[in-house]
Symmetry: C2
Subunit: 189 residues, 2 copies
């Protein structure tokens, strides 16, 4: 059954809000644009805006679920008997490249300049680390302690976060993952 008119309209409203918000934020700065302004420009009521997005920050990180699912799939969908760490490294490489692409630069500059957005992203990363830890703990090939799984998941997210800020992001991913590889091997029986 194809999506009905109702769902299409809802999706369109959501998209229009997100597009309008991002445009205004990039034009005039995140902090300088109020929620009431975004709603007016998108021609919706403030309450409608908040029925689509849980907070002002969520307007910026619209597709953060992609991020989370890609990390988990890097673990669950990897080839049989492929070791964990290289699979994770490959995915983190891809994510970092995606974030450091020239087209994404203005958005990340905006995020860096707003403490509220930075805090929100930090919080998001922790959620992602928890999901990743669950995926790792669920793999029967690995069978490490809960603490080891959560630790490696945090380390992988740290790699993403640190590499994004490094002068040479690609090299930073490799450098950090050499450390993560050693940490992971230190947990095997």
């Amino acid at each position: 059954m194809p999506p009905g008119r109702r769902e299409r309209k809802k999706a369109a409203t959501r998209q229009k809000i997100a597009d309008t918000a991002l445009r205004l934020f990039l034009e005039r700065g995140y902090d300088a644009v109020g929620i009431r302004e975004v709603a007016a420009e998108a021609d919706v009521a403030v309450t409608t805006l908040f029925s689509h997005f849980a907070s002002k920050e969520a307007l910026v990180f619209e597709q953060d679920q992609d991020f989370e699912q890609r990390l988990m799939r890097a673990v669950t969908d990897r080839a049989p008997h492929e070791p964990l760490i290289p699979a994770l490294r490959r995915e983190v490489h891809a994510l970092v490249r995606h974030c450091t692409a020239d087209s994404a630069a203005p958005i990340w500059r905006m995020i860096d300049e707003s403490p509220a957005l930075r805090e929100y992203e930090e919080s998001m990363r922790l959620r992602h680390a928890e999901s990743l830890a669950t995926a790792i703990a669920a793999d029967p090939d690995l069978s490490r302690s809960t603490t080891a799984c959560r630790t490696i998941a945090r380390f992988a997210i740290d790699a993403y976060s640190l590499a994004r800020e490094a002068a040479d992001p690609d090299a930073a991913v490799d450098e950090i993952f050499r450390m993560i590889e050693a940490a992971w091997e230190a947990t095997s029986p």
Copy 2:
């Protein structure tokens, strides 16, 4: 010259605000107590409260600078030629014990129950990691890359954060630091 009356009064006001806030928060819940209420109970104006504390959350994490300085001193004040990782592990052990002591339990329960406080603490941890990374990078005995220093600092903070939530915090610190030790050795030439 000993501190004058002015500074003593200022410190007393600050302390009274912090004590009142913590008492009210523990009695009736962080979210259930408003800033105006804290100010009234401490007998100060709201603006005075905000001249002493940057935010409502900062009322709870009053002495977070202690935390930051203890971590940095564990690096800078360690015995000559003492390796880095054991010194860090010792300090993280102490910090975790301090936070998981019975007397601190109600405070951490309150923090766990409030998303705003959790986010604030996450943000604090990142700041602490940056300070720690600076201290590590400044040690001439170590001479690792900037990325390696920042990575190890993050890992140490992760250890603190993860161990605090583990069933056996002491054992978790040891387990995670075995991983950190391996990661650190993977960076030596």
